[in-house]
Amino acid sequence: QQQVRQSSQSLTVWEGETAILNCSYENSAFDYFPWYQQFPGEGPALLIAIRSVSDKKEDGRFTIFFNKREKNLSLHIKDSQPGDSATYFCAASASSGSWQLIFGSGTQLTVMP
C-alpha cells in the first residue's frame, strides 16, 4: 500500500496558468512534507516544504496547502512557466526517530508555451 499517493501521473497546463498537484498520505505520524522537483537525467532538488503544524507555506510562485484532517496537501504553481516542466515528487517523513523519507510516485508537469 502506497503511504504517499500522488493522484496524477501527468499534468499539462498553459503558460501563465496555475498548476495544482495533489498528494495524500496514510500515516498520521508524518509531520514533514517536502516537495522535490526533478528534471530529466538529474537528481531531485528540494522545492518547498511544510510541517503539519501549518496549513499553508508560500515561497514565490510556489504554495503548499495542507489539510491535516483530510491527510492531503497540494502544491500550487502560480504563473506556470515552460521552465517549470519537470517531475514533482511529494514526500513525507515522521520527525520522531525516523530516517526514512517516503516519496510519492511523482507528477510529470508540462507547461505549454
Partner: protein, 113 residues
C-alpha cells in the same frame, strides 16, 4: 565546486556481474548519507542510510549492500547483478537529523542486460 559527486555517470553491465557505485561528499563534516533507487519514470525508493562511518542501515532488501569506509564516502555494491537492478541510483546527504533536507547527486544510470 560540486558538493556531491557520484561515479560512474552511467554503467551497462551483464546479469550476474559485480557492481560498485560510489559517492563522495565534499566540504561537509559528518553528513548523513543515503542511497536511493529510481526505476525509469518511477518513484524514489530509499535503500540505505548511514549516520556515521562504518555504520549502514538497510531500508529494503534488493540484493545490494552499502558501506561507508570514510566520512565523506558511500559505496553501493553487489556481487551479482539482476535485471531488476536496472534504474537510476541516487546518493544524497543531509546535515540535520531525520532527512529534513536531502541534497541529491546527479545519479548513476545503470542498465543490466
Amino acid at each position: 565546486a560540486q558538493t556531491i559527486h557520484q561515479w560512474p555517470v552511467a554503467e551497462i553491465k551483464a546479469v550476474g556481474s559485480p557492481l560498485s557505485l560510489g559517492c563522495t561528499i565534499k566540504g561537509k563534516s559528518s553528513p548523513n548519507l543515503y542511497w536511493y533507487w529510481q526505476a525509469t519514470g518511477g518513484t524514489l525508493q530509499q535503500l540505505f542510510y548511514s549516520i556515521t562511518v562504518g555504520q549502514v542501515e538497510s531500508v529494503v532488501q534488493l540484493n545490494l549492500s552499502a558501506s561507508r569506509p570514510k566520512d565523506d564516502q558511500f559505496i553501493l555494491s553487489t556481487e551479482k547483478l539482476l535485471l531488476s537492478h536496472s534504474g537510476f541510483y541516487l546518493c544524497a546527504w543531509s546535515l540535520l537529523r531525520d532527512t529534513e533536507t536531502l541534497y541529491f547527486g546527479s545519479g548513476t544510470r545503470l542498465t543490466v542486460l
